[in-house]
Amino acid sequence: MADQTMSGADALGGVDRIRENYLAMARTRRLYGGLMLVVFIALMASGFIVADERNAGGFWDGVLNIFDFPAEVLSEAREKIANLPGLMVKFLPSLVETLNIAAASTLLGAVAAVILSLLSTRGLARYPALIGVFRRIMDVMRAIPEIVIALVLIFVLGGGPVPAMIAIAFHTAGALGKLFSEVNENASLKPLEGLESVGATWPQRMWLGVIPQVAPNYLSYALLRFEINIRASAILGFVGSGGIGYDLRNAFSWGQGRYDEVAAIFLLLFLTIVFFDQTSSHYRNKLVGRV
């Protein structure tokens, strides 16, 4: 019943060939798909088994006790619930320090990231020959976890907020630098050429030609980073860099008797994180929506 005007397949050697080709393709695809699924499941399963094996407690034994510890903390916190507001006030300065570390390091890191990203974007770079070098520098900065730098710096500079600030700023510069340079790549080069034709210097071209184009995206990424850095800064407190993480660790570590402190600090930290998370995602949506 095939209508000649509609059947384009005949010209190409018949529907049979198409069918066989498709079936063959479907079979290989099914095979690869199946294989990938099997490999993935095998990886997950064997990974799970190895991790379970190398862990002190087994997964299945532990799952039932997962709430033991939280329950212990909560029950004590509930007993001493009257203490919580006072404790929260007591730990406020630590929280401020944590936030300061995050803010200062985000600012420092972002400034470095802007410069690094401009230096490592094709078409914008001051020294095009060195683009690769700056990219590798950013890769390495990004790859080093903050905790490594912080611990090493604590040895040299002593404990306190500064090692944490430097460590986070260092990592931030690498991480934001990569994102920024992706943004830069989408910037139009036309305004730059226009500025070049009037005899503008490199900083003028960057500041007047590129930054206005990319600023909203920069800002949006920087806000996201700030959010991440609040956590990072709290974590570094755990290894001796001051701030709220330090108090949390000591309270947690001491255990029974100070679980009210744990609860208070935890609540403080959690509320802060959620607060900044929500505000920043609100403003990020606004910023990117405007572009």
Partner: protein, 272 residues
């Protein structure tokens, strides 16, 4: 035998379809026309059970379709295929897989989740594609096809369901005149050759006149015209569209020969 009995749909306070009563004694090619918002899409969606009727009934071979639930409802949907204005294909999947979606209702959930279709289905899918002249694109992703080709894939999916009824909601509204003709020809041919009932929402009078055996005109949710294509005069059209004397049919035409007509029509075609 398909019957609509005082079929009504209200959205909040608005009545989109208002007590539509229609009888289709035997499979035919039926065109539904009406201004934007007249309730054409809503009517078809109720027929396919994509939306539930607010009141009234749909009877197919004496069975109350409106009352079906769960698996029975899905079986009805499989029997009554739907073709959409925007094709509603899965763009990232290849053409044959899209066509095979027409068999989802018949095959076991588990097998289909892993893309395991019987080989016979695959063969049939390619036959259908061949019938519609697009077998050579079988292995491409749907998104890589032109609009007309995508709509033919959608028709192929509908045919794959082996339905008693094919519902088409403005199948040619996103297509250029060339592709519109190909798609309408295909639908007509399906009706002629397979004897399936085809219900087709249309924006344009001349398409309805040219392809349909019976035309239903809707306005504000009500059926205001029901007759053969020859009865569809300009006056009847004015009535359906609630238009004044300035109404010119050519302004909504998508038929290819409209291009050859003189006057401003050419410019309007490009804008459609």
């Amino acid at each position: 035998m398909l019957e609509l009995d005082r079929l009504t749909k209200t959205f909040g306070g608005r009545t989109a379809v208002d007590a539509v009563t229609l009888t289709f004694p035997k499979p035919a090619m039926i065109g539904v026309i009406g201004a934007s918002g007249a309730g054409k899409s809503t009517l078809l969606r109720m027929l396919n059970r994509l939306s539930d009727a607010s009141s009234g009934r749909i009877l197919h071979e004496g069975r109350d379709v409106t009352a079906l639930r769960g698996a029975a409802k899905r079986a009805w949907q499989a029997e009554c295929a739907m073709i959409f204005q925007q094709f509603n294909l899965v763009p990232r999947m290849d053409v044959v897989s899209n066509v095979l979606h027409g068999t989802l209702n018949k095959r076991s959930t588990l097998a289909t989740l892993f893309n395991l279709y019987p080989e016979s289905d695959i063969r049939r899918a390619i036959d259908i594609l061949d019938r519609l002249g697009i077998a050579e694109h079988a292995a491409k992703r749907a998104e890589a096809l032109s609009g007309g080709q995508q709509q033919r894939v959608a028709i192929a999916r509908a045919l794959m369901q082996d339905p008693a009824i094919i519902l088409a909601d403005e199948p040619i509204a996103s297509l250029d005149p060339m592709n519109a003709q190909i798609v309408m020809d295909a639908l007509r041919r399906i009706h002629d050759e397979d004897g399936r009932m085809v219900v087709c929402n249309l924006h344009t009078l001349d398409t309805a006149r040219r392809y349909c055996d019976r035309v239903i005109g809707m306005r504000l949710g009500r059926v205001v015209f029901d007759g053969g294509p020859d009865e569809l005069t300009t006056d009847a059209a004015r009535e359906i569209y609630g238009a004044d004397a300035g109404f010119s049919e050519a302004a909504t035409s998508t038929a290819i020969d409209a291009l050859d007509r003189p006057g401003p029509a050419a410019a309007v075609v490009a804008a459609v």
